[in-house]
Symmetry: C2
Subunit: 338 residues, 2 copies
């Protein structure tokens, strides 16, 4: 039997899965932001030649997988399975993107934590020896999300100052059981944390307690401190969520501010791009990880990060029913090749 | 290194995870059906003392987990993680049921294949040595599903003859790395198969090709034939889906009819319960597996079944856009204790 170090909620991988390749397909606005030079592809048309935004999002996942295969020099038949999910009802853009491709598919729902969730499960599957190559993919699309979660764009609803801008784009990662590259060394499975936030336009605040819980669990399970990481990367807390997280940490005498890098604050230039509190959506942390972050880790500029995917587990129905918003956060520790 | 990889899409577990306990919480109609004596609990009130059907469904998952813990003689802190998902938008009933319980949660979306999907991943996680106890849970609710996928019940829409009745209920399974009981010996990850069915009231036909594909892959990956199983159990194809599956098999000279047991045909008495083509929903295959089927396996009346969870990966949006319905089927082989 292999033996993995166990905290209560954490796993250390005995044979750390390698990130063999990563891909990023970004929307127009994302392609005008600070990370523009780092994306594999920027799609200028929000419909991406499809009839609907949902299909456009699906097409972005298809392209992210294709780029991933090209970069890994793999055929689709070489991939053991694709772990993927998205924000759309019934995760339709993920399943549609794999339709009739003959590739095994495991569908996930973790809201904006999906990139971390799929990496965590993918690492378990590769490290467990079940499949040699596993792809982790996710996406979001501003227009399909706004219509589903808030208002149709045509309605012209005003966005409150606490809101975040759903990222249009898809990111993918190919995990492999051998080779060189950044590796996933450990992971912490998140718990559902609900502190009573009911405002669907303030998701950062809803997710911050879950992020703090998972970060603390990871550090405690491995007897580490925040200085063991170059960055604690949070999914998409945005300005208010990051403030809430830093305050939660301060109450426990942890100075998290100097270590936090929030993907929601990285993806857009908030001074010129009018996104209020920052970016959000499954595509947000996926695009940031699958562009500049993995590049820096691969180039040796970052040695170790804790990638904390955060998700707000609301639905339009639960919001209409006045229910509070549960949050979740899954963490994976990624190290550079040594 | 352990080596599990068998066929291209299949895994044989080197240390087959044990099904330590199972639980079933059924709705009123299900509790009046042929399996009534086998359920742990029948809930007569469709609201289950909650304010909405969505919350009632969530409460059913909570109860299924509680019964599972009682039967396994485990505390919630002993459980490594809960794998769960459901049909509701953003899988809200699954995440809400675990809110603030402090238990690690991995959210899945596999439509009505969720019970099989969660068992498959759970078996990988337990067999991989990551956690000793993993719970796999799912649910569906007739009223929350009808409102979301078709019409509000108050509208009184007529159900076409091809339709199936979404099961109200929740089923759960506790997987464990030691002990005695039925065990999961192997699994096949499904691929997304779309043969162009666009009628959301004929989901059996949409899922049958995916079921046939996964059954063939499992048999071929392990060099087995259908006679190696007491039953090939399909999730919820219903009358038309089963007919379509049998016909697909006949074209390949396989006489599947004598081996098929469809959960959609087992859960209700179709002569008296007015459910048209049978049952459906994540709760359908979960309730059938977590009652009479596991009882029979545990009692030695069945030696080996192939449990094939089938899912129709449609969304109301994709249906409104006229898109066809992709299907998926994940299979787990379950054997009695030997």
């Amino acid at each position: 039997m292999i033996s993995h170090h166990h905290g209560k909620h954490s796993i250390r991988f005995s044979n750390p899965p390698i990130i063999q390749a990563w891909s990023s397909v970004a929307g127009k606005k994302e392609g005008e932001g600070p990370l523009k030079k780092h994306f594999d592809k920027v799609i200028l048309d929000s419909f991406f030649n499809q009839k609907s935004w949902e299909q456009a999002e699906s097409k972005m996942q298809e392209l992210a997988l294709q780029i991933l295969l090209n970069k890994s020099n793999l055929d689709i038949a070489d991939v053991g399975l694709v772990l993927s999910g998205d924000l759309l009802n019934q995760c339709i853009s993920s399943s549609a993107s794999l339709s009739n491709k003959g590739i095994p598919h495991v569908g996930l729902y973790g809201a904006c934590s999906t990139m971390a969730e799929s990496l965590m499960l993918g690492a378990m599957i590769v490290n467990g020896g079940y499949f040699n190559h596993v792809a982790a993919i996710t996406s979001s699309h501003f227009a399909s999300s706004e219509r589903q979660f808030r208002f149709p764009l045509d309605y012209g609803g005003q966005r409150p100052p606490t809101s975040q801008w759903t990222v249009t784009g898809s990111g993918g990662i190919m995990l492999c059981n051998h080779g060189s590259g950044p590796k996933i060394v450990s992971s912490t499975v998140g718990t559902v944390v609900d502190r009573g936030i009911t405002d669907a336009n303030n998701m950062g605040a809803a997710m911050a307690p879950a992020a703090f819980s998972t970060i603390c669990t990871h550090l405690s399970d491995f007897n580490m401190c925040i200085d063991d990481f170059d960055y604690i990367v949070t999914g998409d807390l945005g300005e208010l969520g990051v403030k809430a997280l830093i305050e939660l940490a301060r109450q426990k005498n942890i100075d998290l501010e100097r270590k936090i890098l929030d993907c929601g604050l990285e993806i857009f230039d908030r001074t010129t791009q009018d996104v209020h509190c920052g970016g959000s959506g499954c595509g947000c942390s996926a695009l940031v990880l699958c562009s500049s972050l993995l590049e820096k880790i691969n180039a040796g500029k970052l040695k170790r990060i804790l990638f904390c995917g955060t998700g707000a587990l609301l639905s339009p129905t639960s919001v209409q029913q006045g229910l509070s918003i549960p949050g979740i956060c899954h963490a994976v520790a990624i190290e550079g090749a040594t």
